[in-house]
């Protein structure tokens, strides 16, 4: 069953300047992105900083209002709602309960003045999930146990925990309302390598148990591959390639995806490979994106057409979508 889908999603942030704060330019964070999130599935979103992956996550969870495009939300009864604009008083509680988010930095996303109990309890109380305080407390204890923390920790404050433990607390908070979709924005980037795997395993376990859908945003290709059923590769506000995760890793088609994969270190000192990476330059600014394909200034296989027209995504088989002129007409 579908939970959330977006069509031609666009998000421009105005840049204001001058005495009267007139809009002088736009940061084109998202340009016409399509995404479908099904129950129990994981969509991975990968790309470098500034590619719009976090903006996409935040627009889906409705922290940002999209500039254009349509977001459709399917409530638990199967009824579809257009949530592109304001949620409205009737829909907001259902939507907020159904779609939760965890953030990159667990040092910032927990309130330092609230105990762990208060932090985890807040959404349960807000959504009136349980009738009395005793039931809430035992549910909080159950949640903490589930994420691998001792229930006795409930009376402590966030500063008493390490990064990995804090991310577990953030996960406990987000799953407390039993969401159908959890948007994870770089949930392991701030964590040490030895702890990263613990958090990934935890998310997978919870997903297996609850059949929750995940949108997993990360710059780490290996982590995204491990988590996802389908991966979308973003560059400068556009999705350049999207495919089932094994298909994408076996045969990356877009020159950017290929470059991104070749830039991941090999972990093999006998076969060093970064010397062979040919990608020059840096991603251009989303304020003044190049015309045509956003990747053409760095692309080793650019053609004349790339400088003029933006390629449309084409399906090259098995749901493997590529937005590149090399594949136009195939």
């Amino acid at each position: 069953m579908k939970i959330l889908s977006a069509r031609r999603l666009k998000k421009y942030f105005p840049i204001r300047s001058g005495v009267f704060l007139q809009v002088s330019a736009y940061v084109r964070a998202l340009k016409a992105v399509d995404i479908d999130v099904e129950e129990g599935a994981t969509i991975g979103i990968v790309g470098e900083s500034g590619c719009g992956k976090s903006t996409l996550g935040r627009t889906l969870v409705k922290i940002h209002e999209p500039t254009e495009g349509k977001i459709t939300y399917c409530d638990p009864t199967g009824q579809e709602h257009d949530v592109s604009r304001s949620l409205g008083r009737n829909l907001a509680p259902t939507f907020r309960k159904d779609i939760q988010m965890i953030f990159q930095n667990p040092y910032d996303s927990l309130d330092p003045r609230m105990t762990i109990r208060d932090t985890v309890r807040e959404p349960i109380i807000t959504h009136r999930l349980l009738p009395d305080a005793g039931a809430v407390d035992s549910y909080v204890a159950e949640l903490l146990t589930k994420v691998g923390l001792y229930p006795e920790y409930a009376a402590r404050y966030p500063h008493e925990f390490s990064g990995g433990q804090r991310q577990r607390i953030a996960i406990a908070r987000s799953i407390s309302v039993r969401p159908r979709l959890l948007i994870c924005d770089e949930p392991t980037s701030a964590l040490d390598v030895s702890v990263q795997s613990q958090v990934i395993n935890l998310l997978k376990d919870i997903q297996r148990e609850t059949n929750m859908a995940l949108v997993f945003i990360s710059h780490n290709l290996d982590v995204v591959h491990h988590m996802s059923d389908r991966i979308m590769v973003m560059y400068l506000g556009s999705v350049v390639e999207s495919a089932p995760s094994d298909a994408l890793f076996d045969a990356p088609m877009h020159p950017y995806t290929q470059a991104l994969m070749s830039a991941v270190p090999s972990w093999d000192p006998r076969n060093r490979k970064l010397g062979a990476v040919k990608l020059e330059g840096e991603p251009p600014s989303p304020i003044n994106p190049p015309p045509g394909c956003p990747f053409h200034p760095r692309c080793p296989r650019r053609m004349d057409v790339c400088e003029k027209t933006m390629p449309e995504a084409v399906d090259i088989g098995g749901g493997h979508m590529v937005a590149c002129h090399l594949f136009a007409g195939s």
Partner: protein, 331 residues
């Protein structure tokens, strides 16, 4: 491996402790190592293991008090621990220079990058300003900065993180130092930019034959750039070895744990292997071996006694601080 084994920096029993309201924090606790001429030595470890404090101690950047630095750091026959601030200034930035993790915050936003590079040249080199500017622009060109003359007059906010990190490398190189300490130089960068920066560092290291201490938590980049690797955990060096051997046959259970924490493709659909527990807080270090609460092979002895460095006879050039290796071979 490199043939020349001339040592440029010798660290012996270095201890850097901090006095805090919560007690004494043993950030670096009795570490010894040597840096050879022309090599890239990687100091690897997770956050809080003491790798950055080691770098700061070498550069004389820890403030005492509250810090207490003991032991010996010898650089070309001179003792750096306890050296007067005035003398340190002739070494820091000139013979030993540093590349920091966050390029965006390491530059002063109020001055052009050119001016900040010029400042380094003025402090350490006998050049006139005109000469210095020429050399700076040359060095910017050598690290593939497009339009170096234009960039010279620009401010840090006008550049991307990757560009600034490369400029910081240029800044560290202006004085042709003998040692460059790079503290997580690519951590804040995207992978494609990281590849570019690592390539530049490798080329430069080959050309100028200086030594690099490369500090990172990312074993992937270590495999790409290092000659020798020292693995740190909770203020101690737990394992030392040449990069190939260390990756192919890690001796310490922590090193093995770090290497298996890599997310590999084969693991898809299964649970990822991981190290139990968390890195201990520096003011709550466990007794005995500091890794024992997380170690899958911990023995009774590990809980009581700290292991010394063992040198397995069959593996020259490697040391491991783990009781499993007592007597030369793992039991």
């Amino acid at each position: 491996m490199r043939e020349s084994c001339e040592s440029v920096l010798t660290v012996r029993n270095l201890k850097t402790y901090f006095r805090t309201p919560e007690g004494i924090v043993k950030a670096v606790d009795d570490i010894s190592f040597e840096l050879n001429k022309g090599e890239v030595l990687a100091l690897v470890g997770e956050s809080g293991c003491g790798k950055s404090v080691t770098a700061s101690s070498i550069l004389g950047l820890v403030k005492a008090p509250p810090a207490m630095v003991e032991g010996s750091i010898r650089f070309r026959g001179r003792e750096l621990v306890g050296m007067a601030a005035k003398d340190y200034r002739t070494i820091r930035g000139k013979q030993i220079s540093m590349i920091f993790q966050e390029p965006m915050s390491a530059f002063d936003p109020l001055y052009t990058v050119g001016y900040q590079l010029l400042e380094v040249a003025r402090a350490h080199m006998p050049w006139s300003d005109g000469e210095a500017k020429e050399k700076i622009i040359d060095s910017l060109r050598s690290i593939h900065i497009p339009e170096p003359e234009k960039r010279y007059g620009e401010y840090p906010h006008e550049m991307s993180g990757g560009m600034l990190q490369r400029i910081m490398i240029a800044m560290a190189l202006i004085t042709s130092p003998e040692i460059i300490i790079a503290d997580e130089p690519t951590t804040a960068l995207d992978v494609t930019i990281q590849a570019q920066v690592l390539n530049i560092m490798q080329d430069l290291q080959r050309d100028y034959s200086g030594s690099i201490i490369f500090i990172t938590h990312d074993l992937g980049t270590v495999a790409e750039i290092a000659h020798r690797v020292h693995v740190m955990y909770a203020g101690k060096i737990v394992e030392k070895g040449p990069v190939v051997e260390l990756f192919e046959e890690p001796l310490h259970p922590y090193t093995l744990g770090l290497l298996t924490s890599r997310v590999k493709r084969e693991y898809k659909g299964q649970d990822l292997p991981f190290i139990e527990g968390y890195v201990p807080r520096p003011n709550e270090l466990p007794d005995g071996c500091r890794f024992h609460p997380r170690c899958p092979r911990a023995m009774e002895r590990c809980r009581r006694e700290q292991p010394p460095d063992f040198e397995p006879a069959s593996m020259p050039g490697r040391t491991v601080a783990c009781w499993l290796w007592e007597g030369g071979d793992a039991e």
